[in-house]
Symmetry: C2
Subunit: 457 residues, 2 copies
Amino acid sequence: MENNREIPYKIYLEEHEMPRQWYNVRADMKKKPAPLLNPQTMQPITAEELEGVFCKELVKQELDENTAYIDIPEEILSFYKMYRPSPLVRAYCLEKKLGTPAKIYYKFEGNNTSGSHKLNSAIAQAYYAKQQGLKGVTTETGAGQWGTALSMACAYLDLDCQVYMVKVSYEQKPFRREVMRTYGASVTPSPSEKTEVGRRIREEFPGTNGSLGCAISEAVEAATTQEDYRYVLGSVLSQVLLHQSVIGLEAKAAMDKYGIKPDVIIGCAGGGSNLGGLISPFMGEKLRGEADYRFIAVEPASCPSLTRGVYAYDYCDTGKVCPLQKMYTLGSGFMPSASHAGGLRYHGMSSTLSELYDQGLMEAVSVEQTSVFSAAQEFARVEGILPAPESSHAIKVAIDEAIRCKETGEEKTILFGLTGTGYFDMYAYQRFNDGEMGDYIPTDEEIAAAVAKLPKI
Amino acid sequence: MENNREIPYKIYLEEHEMPRQWYNVRADMKKKPAPLLNPQTMQPITAEELEGVFCKELVKQELDENTAYIDIPEEILSFYKMYRPSPLVRAYCLEKKLGTPAKIYYKFEGNNTSGSHKLNSAIAQAYYAKQQGLKGVTTETGAGQWGTALSMACAYLDLDCQVYMVKVSYEQKPFRREVMRTYGASVTPSPSEKTEVGRRIREEFPGTNGSLGCAISEAVEAATTQEDYRYVLGSVLSQVLLHQSVIGLEAKAAMDKYGIKPDVIIGCAGGGSNLGGLISPFMGEKLRGEADYRFIAVEPASCPSLTRGVYAYDYCDTGKVCPLQKMYTLGSGFMPSASHAGGLRYHGMSSTLSELYDQGLMEAVSVEQTSVFSAAQEFARVEGILPAPESSHAIKVAIDEAIRCKETGEEKTILFGLTGTGYFDMYAYQRFNDGEMGDYIPTDEEIAAAVAKLPKI
């Protein structure tokens, strides 16, 4: 453990060491996340009600708070082997550059064509849709990682994939769109003429650039009005955290293999899919009193749901068609600034992570984007990986922690999640390289105004 | 060997199994490649003459035909550990899709930020420049992979990196440019006002889009007119094949570990860096009579130097400032069509590969780009990796071989090089997705006209 020379730059598990079950952290929580509410009745939603929108097996996973381990189906395990195990990397070069006594590790999820961890849940959701005999799935995408991941999963399983892509992204990120098309997905700029809600929004707001909330509404309508289609979502939901637990399970297995115990675990947090997945098995140990860890959620200062939001029931989408959940939220009407970390521009947070945070089991910090891009650049130059802006939020805080160790002389072991690569984010890097990037922090008044519109429950 | 179940999807060597020496295939060639010629005297060039342009140690490697194994310096080994070993992947999903009895493997070099194998030589060339106490290096880049790789290597070693990027690429691929800038390189659109040759060309051809030949000339001028700078090149040279032998050495070690022997080894060929690196150790066995393999070089039908060129002395660059080498060439004045595989648009071929081909030790085929993109798409959908257009040339021929095995029932083992990813090539994919991609095959007359202008030696 103390002999650094024995720890390789990258730890890859053998295939037979890969997890064969997902871990459901809710099973070890004494106080569970609050139940989802039906937006019509404001009563806890039933499985039957959810099954009109989501696949049956996924509804079961969504509502299951008690089963700790769920078998990963063989076909999903095979797909995982195409791009997993992902490496656990010892950041020797970054440590040297910082001159820190800290030991820094990162779990790198970017080595697949979707460019992020999103594929872990996309293949699971597509698999259950296929198992149910469906023709296809619908979804929305903003920045494009989730849409890309779902396209890949659907191409593999020969399932139709319909993606509603926020219009401004569709136009500004034509290459993301082309990756999805190469994988056979149909990509529609939202709002579109294809759905009733899309037509209504276009009439009401001529020339609108679209929004994630609107794209969700269109995707849900498309799923519920076509026979044998269901809607799928890439974050926030408990089922997504379940699938993403594969990140944490692999990281823990790799660390256990070399006798490494992290002191602090850091992840960026938008809807919570990556952070929830990374920390799950470690949090399980903490909940069971077997070990202690510090957990830090890193969010953008421009969209600080945990650090400046309220813990309340709220709509998950702007169109208010999805179930409500109790979460840290800035209000579903909160409009985050056009920051360059599209994957973190979500008004709320996973109900599980929200509850853990509320119980004081997890910390949260917010960071500004120019400092995030500085950290990204420093990291890229010594570690050789060009990180996604979202992932770079975790890098920023990991570097801060390592510098603190340098000051105190502590040899802490830091683990952070490097969720993806920035190959499709070069416009943001260009703004940074040209010194044209700014920061935006919402005022207390702006947040108060959005929070004031929360539903009264 | 026959038990497929024992072979994992991806074979990763352990760090201690990684090669610690490069292999110089020329050492095992009875008839060596013809010597480089000085463009002024047309006599074999001396080390001293080359050292004005290239680093001393690299000149030594360039001219060394007899040392079979050369130690990889420790600092380069450390850098390799950041992104190597690269996986040897068993293409189980592709085999299943094709229904072939063939066993298909590929060595995947795309899992690093440069997106290709180019980093293997970039770090070596940057390292020797640093060792020599130089301030920086200059180079040209067309598609951008080489420039990106060199930027990464220079950032790691704190060496200045000046890239002359063909103007049309600079404008059409702003994101490639931004990756290089993020790694601290200065990127100049070529032809520029910075060099004499650049100014001359701009005067002569106002509004020109630039060309690789012109960018090389500018980079060489920049290297020779600044104190403590040298010029570096990403392909064609023997030193590059030497560094790239790490691909083949790793592939062979991984295959040996599992008792796998390839029957046929396939790689795309532009200047020859990837193909030369991949086949080197296998070719060594063939040259020494220890084993037999089929080797297939795949080139674009639009730029068919091996299959339709002549074996003769030619200039390596359009500006005629670099040494001449004997190679299969279409003539340095040959203008390949604007195909989407920028990395394969080179008029000549590595002198080592040219000599091996001339001796009948290697085969070559040319393929058209629409068939290449069809293969790329088919591959991407089942193997989950979006390949670069260059790499997809090898995929196309590997699939053809596998289909032939299906027809004959042969259980051949196929190995091909997957040199990189296509994240910065989505414009090409878009053309393909939209059905707007064409093919271009030069006429015999066009080739004859270019070949007629070869220097008389």
